[in-house]
Structures are given as structure tokens and as C-alpha cells.
């Protein structure tokens, strides 16, 4: 019985999504109907009184708008273009070097920005004109910028990890520490993927002239502020000097200060940064509200608890079950946006995974490791067809590259992701080794 009502709720959600309802409303409306049917209109109306405020005023979630603002200030302060210029002066003279420079700049920008879409957009704005000047293939340029952009969430800070930390009740600082090495690995594998692709298709990314050493050194001045901000903010969070929210607030202050000192952040830029933060934060928190409503109804059906038990008790090898869970996410990520996907499924999947016996890991280590695996799956969803959000973002900026042409070159990056996911799945210490140093 419970399974049928849960299935009905999910089906209604997917149907409403297909009818172009905003994702938050497609979750909210079936959730509301389910809630009224299962526990009555009075209970529902009482729940509605407080639900928005209850969700918006969670202390740990305030890091999300703060980190988004920090990333926007870094963009308006000219930090992303400084990063790209520096990276391009070092590797731009290789074939495909500008694409690798975009990946490296994205990785560096990801260390002060928690959003993949924002990272993709800001690096693309710096890199696309340069790539166009050297006659890069449009599809290849878009694919490398979209893939590079995912480093925004892969390298801490990360909005997705914050969300996971809240839902799974895990320590944000430890999750940020766990994601660091896998994030660096992701950037390295993307560069390798580009190099291998260049061997087969050198015409995709022509080399630009070599930049002499004195000029290269000069570009490093633009990298220094990012490094300092990253060390202070993440170092402080890792070292237990301050909470993630406090770190994000300090990051906002430092990034704003750097922008002012570099004389790049002006009133118009500040306005743009605030409005962009408003937009992304509003979108994320409405998705929270929609998912809260649907999850409230799903919990009433008691389906999540039953399903979690059933998955945990499957008579298959635990590692196979985990691999199937990740595969399920990759498929689901093809039709759903990644945030609502995690919010709706984690109540089932997280307790199920916690029941699995994996490499003899303690519960907390297992939870943190699973968070890093999920992050990788989300990153695949952001660039894989049919709906890779990052690809759409960069395509919109490039204007003259069709989505299909971009997807043709995403394969190399997806292969790199597959290699990384396999490594992370088989070698948990890659994620867990750094965690021991967190205070």
C-alpha cells in the first residue's frame, strides 16, 4: 500500500515536471495533495504556517547564500579572469592548452566558489573569447568549460556537500576535507583527457604562442589573492578555528576587500553580484521547500523507511549494491536536477547505504565517503546528456554552438569521471585520508 502511494507521488511529480512546471512546484503540489489525503487539511494548513521560515532559518544552511555571494564577488572582482590568464600563460602553448588552462582556472576558482554553474559561467566568460581567437572547435571549448565548471562543487567549498551534510547529519568540515583530494584528482584527469583527445584530434585545440617567463611570473600576482582566501577560509574551517558559516562570512569579506583593492569591484559589479546571489539562492531554497513538502508526504506513507530496509537487506555483495545505487543516480540525474534528486532520494538511500558492510568502514567514515561518491555522480549529471545543466549554461554564453555539438565532445570528460568514480569507489582512503587531520 505504502509503495503504491509513494509511486503515485513520484509519478505525479514527473508528470508535472514534463508539463514544464518549475521543479519546486512539481514537487510541492503532489506533496501537498498527498499530505492532505494522508493527514487531513487542518494538519497541512498548520504545517504550511511555519515551513518556509523553518527551512530558511537553519543556521548551517546560511553558508549556501554566503558562499554564493563570495563566488559572485570573486567574479566581479576580476579574480576568475586573472586565474585564467595565469593558467593560460603557463599551458596555453600546448595543443588544447587553453582548455587545460580553463580546467585549472576552474579548479582554482572552485576553491573560493561553491557552485558549479557559477564557476562554469565565470571561467567561460574569461576563456571563450581567447579560445575563439585561436580557432578552438566550439563544441570542444564548451565541453571543456562545462566539465571544468563542475570543479566548482568538486573542490570545497561546495553547495552540494553542504546540502548532503544537512540531510545526512554529517560534519561539514570533514566532508570538505574528504572532497579535496578527489577534487584535485578530477582536475588532473580532465587535463589528461584533454591531452589524450588532442593526440587523436589535434585540430580541435590549436596551440597559442609560448609566453616568456617574466610575463608568466607577472600573471601569478592575480593568483595570490585566491590562494590566500582559500587558505584562510578552508584552513580555518578545517582547523576548527571557525564554523563553515563563519568561514563563508570571512570569505565574503576577504573577497570583497580584494575586489576593492584591485579596483575592479564597483557599484555596478556589486549590484550584479547581489542580484546573481539572490537568483541562485532563491532557486535553491525554493527547491528545498518543494522537496520538504513532497518528503513530508512521502514520510507519511512510510515508504522511505520500508524501502531503505529492503535495499539494505538485499542478498547481494554490498559493493555491488552501492555501485547500483550510484548507477541509479546517474540515470535519474538525466531527467531530474541534481539538488532535488538528492533531497528526495537521500531519506531512502542514506539509511540503506549505512546498513551495508563496506570495507569494514565505521559509520561516520562510510557516510563521509558516500558523500564524496555522490558528489561525483552529481558532477556527471551536470555534464551528461540529455540535461547537463553546465553544458546549457556555457552554450547559452557561447551563443553560436549547438548543444548537440557540445555533447559530442563531452564523452572524453565523462570517461575521466568514470575512471575517477571507479577509483574513489575501490579506494576509500583517497577520500578519507585527509579527514583525520580535521580538528
Amino acid at each position: 500500500m505504502s509503495a503504491w502511494s509513494a509511486l503515485l507521488l513520484f509519478g505525479a511529480m514527473l508528470a508535472l515536471m514534463a508539463l514544464r512546471l518549475p521543479v519546486w512546484a512539481a514537487m510541492f503540489i503532489p506533496g501537498a495533495v498527498g499530505y492532505v489525503v494522508l493527514s487531513g487539511a487542518d494538519a497541512w494548513l498548520a504545517y504550511l504556517k511555519g515551513m518556509a521560515f523553518a527551512r530558511f532559518s537553519i543556521y548551517d544552511l546560511s553558508v549556501i547564500p554566503l558562499f554564493l555571494l563570495m563566488g559572485q564577488l570573486a567574479t566581479q572582482g576580476g579574480l576568475s579572469s586573472a586565474l585564467f590568464r595565469a593558467a593560460a600563460s603557463f599551458v596555453g602553448h600546448w595543443r588544447g592548452g587553453l582548455a587545460q588552462a580553463a580546467v585549472l582556472a576552474s579548479a582554482a576558482f572552485g576553491s573560493v566558489c561553491g557552485s558549479s554553474v557559477a564557476t562554469a559561467a565565470t571561467i567561460a566568460q574569461a576563456a571563450l573569447p581567447e579560445m575563439r581567437r585561436y580557432r578552438y572547435d566550439g563544441g570542444f571549448a564548451v565541453a571543456s568549460l562545462a566539465a571544468g565548471g563542475t570543479l566548482g562543487i568538486l573542490i570545497p567549498p561546495s553547495v552540494v556537500l553542504v546540502l548532503y551534510a544537512i540531510v545526512a547529519e554529517q560534519n561539514i568540515a570533514r566532508l570538505f576535507a574528504a572532497a579535496l583530494l578527489p577534487g584535485v584528482l578530477a582536475a588532473a584527469l580532465y587535463c589528461v583527457a584533454i591531452a589524450l583527445l588532442m593526440r587523436r584530434r589535434p585540430e580541435l585545440g590549436p596551440a597559442e604562442p609560448r609566453v616568456p617567463w617574466p610575463q608568466r611570473r607577472a600573471t601569478l600576482g592575480g593568483v595570490l589573492p585566491v590562494l590566500v582566501i582559500f587558505v584562510i577560509v578552508l584552513g580555518g574551517i578545517y582547523g576548527g578555528v571557525f564554523t563553515a558559516t563563519e568561514g563563508a562570512a570571512i570569505g565574503v569579506a576577504l573577497t570583497g576587500l580584494v575586489g576593492l583593492l584591485r579596483r575592479q569591484l564597483k557599484a555596478a559589479g556589486l549590484r550584479t553580484a547581489l542580484l546573481a546571489t539572490a537568483e541562485t539562492s532563491g532557486v535553491i531554497f525554493m527547491i528545498f521547500l518543494g522537496a520538504d513538502m513532497l518528503n513530508g508526504a512521502l514520510a507519511l506513507t512510510q515508504f522511505p523507511a520500508h524501502a531503505a530496509e529492503a535495499i539494505g537487506a538485499l542478498p547481494w555483495p554490498p559493493l555491488l549494491v552501492l555501485a547500483l545505487v550510484l548507477l541509479f543516480y546517474i540515470v535519474l540525474g538525466g531527467v531530474m536536477d541534481e539538488l532535488s534528486m538528492l533531497l528526495l532520494t537521500l531519506p531512502v538511500v542514506f539509511p540503506a547505504v549505512m546498513q551495508l558492510e563496506l570495507f569494514g568502514l565505521a559509520p561516520e567514515a562510510k557516510a563521509i565517503w558516500f558523500g564524496v561518491l555522490l558528489l561525483t555522480v552529481v558532477n556527471i549529471g551536470l555534464i551528461a546528456p540529455p540535461v547537463g545543466l553546465n553544458v546549457y549554461v556555457v552554450v547559452a554564453l557561447a551563443r553560436d554552438v549547438p548543444v548537440a555539438q557540445a555533447y559530442r565532445h563531452v564523452g572524453a570528460f565523462l570517461a575521466a569521471d568514470a575512471v575517477r568514480l571507479t577509483l574513489l569507489l575501490l579506494v576509500p582512503p583517497l577520500s578519507l585520508w585527509l579527514v583525520q587531520f580535521v580538528q
Partner: protein, 157 residues
């Protein structure tokens, strides 16, 4: 009328952004105070919670104005544009209803809180004040969704 609504949504978002900057500033001062003088700002956690909640609410009308909310468009990618537009209008209408309902219920929540006289733990601020920001924000978002049933184009503001 539409221009006034649009200006209001942008103003709400900018005020929300300013509140967020203020939240960051209070937090930085608090961390600095704790470090240098071992006296953090009294009630800093509360200020962050209430400030962030107010800022997030103030952001919502702008999202509605700008058409920022995610939609899944792969299922309708091959449908005629006019049919897509009809669906989008219907979606705006439904969003207007839900947002309006949320605004009304948040209003009822404010009255409850005021009657109960609930205050924040450390600073003793009346909770209904922070809560009250939700009502005009959700109402304006609902109004914009309603207006966009007739006025399709998303607006950059």
C-alpha cells in the same frame, strides 16, 4: 503597474543582498571579537538565522520575475512553441496559487507568533518581526507569477 512591480522585485532582492552582507559583517566582527578579545557578538547565531531567513525571502520575487526557477524541458523540446507558452502560463498560474497560499499561511504564522509573544533565545527579539518579512515577499512573488500568466517574457529587471 508592471514597471512598479518589477522595480519592487529588484529592490526586494537588493535589500535582501544588503541584509546578507550585514549578516556576513556581524559574523566577521563576532569571530574577530572572539579571537582578539574573547567576546563574540551577543546572539550572533540568532542574527545569522533571522537575517538569512529574511534575505532568502526577499530574493523570491526577483527569481519569479527573472524566470530563474529550474524547469525540465527535454520532454517538450519537440512541442510547438505556442504549446510550450500555454504550458508556461499554466505553470505561472499554479505557482501564483501556491505562493499566494504560502504568503497567507506565513501571515497566519506571524499572528500566532505575535499572540504567543515568542522571542529569540539570546537577544529576546520578537520572532514575528523576522517572520513578517516572509509575507510581503511571498505575496509579491505570487503577484509576479500571476502577472506572468498574461505577460510571458521573463524580465531581466
Amino acid at each position: 503597474m508592471w514597471r512598479a512591480i518589477r522595480a519592487a522585485a529588484v529592490a526586494f532582492a537588493l535589500v535582501g543582498g544588503a541584509v546578507l552582507v550585514l549578516v556576513a559583517a556581524v559574523t566577521v566582527v563576532s569571530v574577530g571579537g572572539r579571537w582578539l578579545l574573547s567576546t563574540p557578538v551577543l546572539g550572533d547565531v540568532e542574527l545569522v538565522q533571522l537575517g538569512t531567513a529574511a534575505a532568502l525571502a526577499l530574493f523570491l520575487p526577483y527569481c519569479q520575475l527573472h524566470g530563474s526557477h529550474l524547469i525540465v524541458d527535454i520532454f517538450t523540446a519537440r512541442t510547438a512553441t505556442s504549446a510550450q507558452r500555454r504550458l508556461d502560463r499554466m505553470a505561472q498560474g499554479l505557482a501564483a496559487v501556491v505562493l499566494g497560499l504560502l504568503a497567507a499561511r506565513a501571515g497566519a504564522g506571524v499572528l500566532d507568533l505575535r499572540a504567543a509573544g515568542e522571542t529569540s533565545m539570546v537577544l529576546g527579539m520578537p520572532l514575528w518581526l523576522a517572520y513578517a518579512v516572509m509575507v510581503p515577499s511571498l505575496a509579491l512573488a505570487s503577484l509576479i507569477a500571476l502577472a506572468r500568466v498574461w505577460r510571458h517574457e521573463p524580465d531581466a529587471g
